[in-house]
């Protein structure tokens, strides 16, 4: 087995009382794309952090090209040739995209002075393969999806032998994702071993050679992708078969309108947006990166931007001054940026869940009822399959997918009349995803308005009754029923002829 680059055996890691890894093994061969799957909190990111030297394992050995090593820091990992794209975006917001992308190189370089021209040229070259982003821009000014692309670009510049991608496509549309897969394949052909973490089965089966499944910090199995079916992976992950990722659609939407948006405009980001949402209907919003989907939802909820136009909720016109009033009116928005604007990372799970409307956990006189707060958090946590130690633990101690569940629980805790969900299942495992889809469908059935913004087209098509496509800040079109195909949506989103849009 000369082609084994990296071999991990018996890795243990615990955080206080939480055992994140209980003796896992993983073998990486040169030139393979190796998928890593597992429920939220199974220990995938923890293992990657161990490989990258960010966390020290409690027990277990790592061997690199046949030699046993200890990796003490990201620098040492880098020197060995390990590159990692983190699940959570970590960029330096105050410096340019170019510098962010080539930070590791600059760190290693022995040159005294920075050659900015060369730096930008190099960054532009790498970025060019992925997207249209100005390397001179401040990284902090980019949208989340563009930041994700910069993260990927960062990893592509590394001269590495093992490249780890921890859910890189969670915030990407199919177009960008396909570009990424192309790049991955080319890298693998050059002999680089790639660890690819994703909750999207299709991606694993289309692009990967082998798949390893973790459950509860243990290694369950490693399989050759060509020899198995997606159900096998799901079964290994969850321990049971998930027959339906998407619930049945509504037989017939109600005649009354929950949300009616008329001629909504904003100075720069969108114009003349009109649409409506009928009762018992789930509406999807699709579009390319930067089309303005998030901005429209945020504008309606008065979180950001000065909008003109009318918004009617359940037959009443809304005159909202800020998001607080929107929440009072029953209209809430789940942010796509869960770390930056969705969660209070250093506060407890329970406190996060009750943040939206404190009056629900208050007794008379505005006193907080801690028991009520916990009961509410526990109930929602159970409903969403949240995996946690104590409700008083900080959210930062949860795995990425479980953090997302807390963010959703926060929305549900106020019994809203209408929810905008921006990338609601970002980083959520298949089991939980199915559960969230079912919950959303049930809510819609009970009369709650559900608007889903997602970059994952299969999810939109599977979940929604109708999909609105946004192109460059305007409504580019709408598809329902059998018209809801990826091709149709892509062509509306890009404005290019039908065949050209197909991937």
């Amino acid at each position: 087995m000369t082609d084994v680059v990296l071999k991990l055996s018996g890795i243990h890691k615990s955080f206080g009382s939480v055992q994140a890894l209980r003796g896992v093994d993983l073998t990486m061969r040169r030139g393979e794309i190796h998928a890593l799957a597992g429920e939220n909190g199974a220990g995938k990111s923890t293992l990657m952090n161990v490989i990258d030297g960010i966390l020290a394992p409690d027990r277990g050995t790592i061997s690199w090209e046949g030699r046993e090593v200890t990796i003490g820091s990201p620098t040492e990992a880098q020197k060995l040739g390990i590159g990692l794209v983190h699940q959570e975006i970590a960029l330096c917001p105050d410096v340019s995209v170019a510098e962010n992308i080539l930070m590791a190189q600059m760190n290693m370089s022995r040159r005294l002075f920075v050659d900015y021209a060369a730096l930008e040229a190099r960054a532009a070259e790498v970025l060019g393969q992925l997207a249209d982003i100005d390397p001179r821009q401040r990284a902090g000014d980019l949208s989340i999806s563009n930041q994700q692309l910069v993260e990927i670009a960062k990893a592509l510049t590394l001269d590495c032998k093992v490249l780890i991608l921890d859910e890189p496509t969670a915030a990407l549309t199919d177009k960008e994702a396909q570009i990424l897969f192309g790049i991955m394949r080319r890298l693998a052909d050059r002999g680089i071993a790639i660890i690819y973490i994703s909750h999207r089965m299709a991606e694993i089966f289309d692009n990967c050679d082998r798949v390893t499944v973790f459950r509860d910090g243990r290694h369950i199995s490693t399989m050759q992708v060509s020899e198995i079916e997606p159900q096998d992976v799901v079964k290994a992950m969850v321990g049971r078969v998930i027959d339906d990722l998407y619930p049945d659609k509504a037989d017939a939407p109600g005649s009354d309108v929950v949300l009616d948006v008329r001629n909504l405009s904003e100075a720069t980001r969108f114009r003349d947006v009109s649409f409506h949402l009928k009762r018992r209907e789930v509406l999807g919003i699709a579009g390319l990166i930067g089309a303005g989907r998030s901005e429209i939802a945020k504008g309606i909820c008065r979180i950001e931007g000065d909008i003109t136009g009318e918004v009617w909720l359940n037959g009443k016109p809304l005159k909202l001054r800020d998001y607080g009033e929107s929440i009072d009116a029953g209209m809430v928005y789940l942010s796509e940026d869960r770390k930056g604007s969705g969660l209070f990372l250093d506060m407890s799970i329970a406190e996060n869940i009750s943040a939206l409307d404190l009056s629900r956990i208050a007794r008379r006189g505005g006193r907080i009822d801690a028991r009520k707060e916990h009961a509410r958090a526990r109930e929602l946590g159970q409903r969403l399959g949240l995996k946690y130690g104590r409700l008083s633990d900080p959210v930062s101690s949860l795995s990425g997918g479980n953090q997302q569940k807390v963010a959703i629980a926060k929305m549900l805790s106020v019994d809203p009349a209408l929810i905008f969900l921006d990338e609601p299942t970002r980083g959520v495992d298949v089991g939980a995803k199915a559960e969230i889809h079912r919950i959303l469908r049930d809510l819609a059935q009970s009369g709650v308005g559900i608007v889903v913004i997602s970059s994952e087209l299969p999810e939109l098509i599977g979940l929604c009754d109708r999909i609105l496509v946004i192109r460059e800040g305007r409504v580019g079109g709408e598809v329902t029923g059998n018209e809801m195909t990826e091709e149709a949506i892509m062509s509306l989103a890009s404005g290019v002829a039908f065949e050209g849009a197909a991937q």
């Binding site: 928005y333 969660l343 406190e351 404190l358 009056s359 956990i361 006193r367 946690y388 104590r390």
Partner: protein, 335 residues
């Protein structure tokens, strides 16, 4: 993995005792380390000096930080919301000077005090405006206000202390009187501390302060009017400085334009020793007051032991450093 422990959650994310097992709960409290350090110091000192554990000395130690403790309360809440205030010393002096000046100009001392506190509130609102509307940093705004307020104090008094010996006894009572053996100042201090500690731990209104300080954007995305919260905490801090200033005025029977120089560092140090984070989002009133008590206790002990003045600074600084280090380790171990 869901746990069935017998604990309730405090607002600050710490575990608090509930029902039985108080001792165990106490052990897990954020402030335990600090209490231990203070107790240790008390034990050592009671052996080192026979005067230490007398009621008069204890009263003196408490009196030495009680009024400043009111400012510590305001600073802690402001720190939790993510702000900071360097102007506390100047604003406290401003309250003294305005109150004293109005009293000398013939106002009733109670009305003069109310106006003085009102002026401090206005100063706080002024700072809040620059922070929330203009978008400047608390540090720089309060630095400018620290200088301006000091200037106003000097201008209003010609740089000389105002003698207020003629304040009526019923007014002086709030600064110099006692109810039984306990000075009114200490009672006022305890009442303010208890009220704000409860408010901060238990009410929805003050919970928003934690959300805002922990992640302002996430708070805004939770519908919290974060600018209002920051405006309110900034104003509250200055208002409490005003209250402290009025009590000082009654206590000293004078208004000193140079009062409180350097107070801000002491007050911030107290809050930080007590567990408040300079990045916002965490802190308790109880902890901050323990921090203030520790600092005051150290100063008093050094004086009582006749330690050479040249050594006092070195020892005080070292104890400050040791206290936060020990506290950090105790919390790491526990957490």
């Amino acid at each position: 993995m869901q746990s069935g422990t017998d604990q309730a959650i405090g607002i600050d994310g710490t575990r608090q005792p509930k029902g039985p097992g108080v001792a165990k709960g106490l052990l897990k409290m954020r402030e335990t380390g600090l209490i231990a350090i203070i107790l240790l110091l008390v034990v050592v000192m009671s052996f080192a000096s026979p005067y230490f554990l007398t009621w008069v000395n204890i009263r003196t130690v408490i009196m030495a930080f009680a009024v400043e403790g009111i400012v510590v309360v305001g600073m802690t809440i402001l720190l939790i919301s993510g702000g900071i205030d360097l102007s506390v010393g100047s604003v406290t002096a401003l309250a003294m000077v305005i109150g004293g000046w109005l009293f000398l100009a013939g106002f009733d001392p109670w009305i003069a005090s109310a106006i003085a506190i009102g002026c401090c509130t206005a100063v706080g609102a002024f700072m809040g405006f620059f922070v929330t509307k203009i978008g400047l940093h608390h540090f720089i705004v309060s630095l400018a206000v620290m200088v301006i307020a000091r200037g106003i104090c000097l201008l209003g008094t010609g740089g000389r202390p105002l003698g207020l010996y003629t304040l009526p006894p019923e007014f002086k009572f709030i600064g110099q009187g006692s109810l039984g053996p306990v000075p009114v100042v200490i009672l006022t201090f305890i009442v303010i501390v208890v009220i704000f500690d409860i408010l901060l731990r238990r009410t929805t209104m003050f919970r928003k302060v934690f959300y805002t300080g922990s992640n302002e954007r996430a708070a805004a995305y939770s519908g919290i009017r974060t600018k209002r919260v920051i405006f309110a905490t900034t104003t509250l801090c200055s208002t409490l400085c005003g209250v402290a200033g009025v009590i000082y005025m009654a206590r000293f029977g004078s208004a000193q334009p140079t009062f409180g120089i350097g107070m801000e560092l002491n007050v911030i140090a107290a809050a930080v020793i007590g567990g408040a984070s300079l990045n916002g989002g965490t802190g308790t009133i109880f902890g901050a007051i323990l921090g203030a008590a520790l600092l005051s206790l150290v100063s008093s002990s050094l004086a009582l032991l006749d330690v050479s003045v040249y050594w006092q600074d070195i020892i005080r600084g070292s104890i400050l450093l040791a206290a936060v280090t020990i506290d950090l380790f105790l919390n790491k171990r526990r957490g």
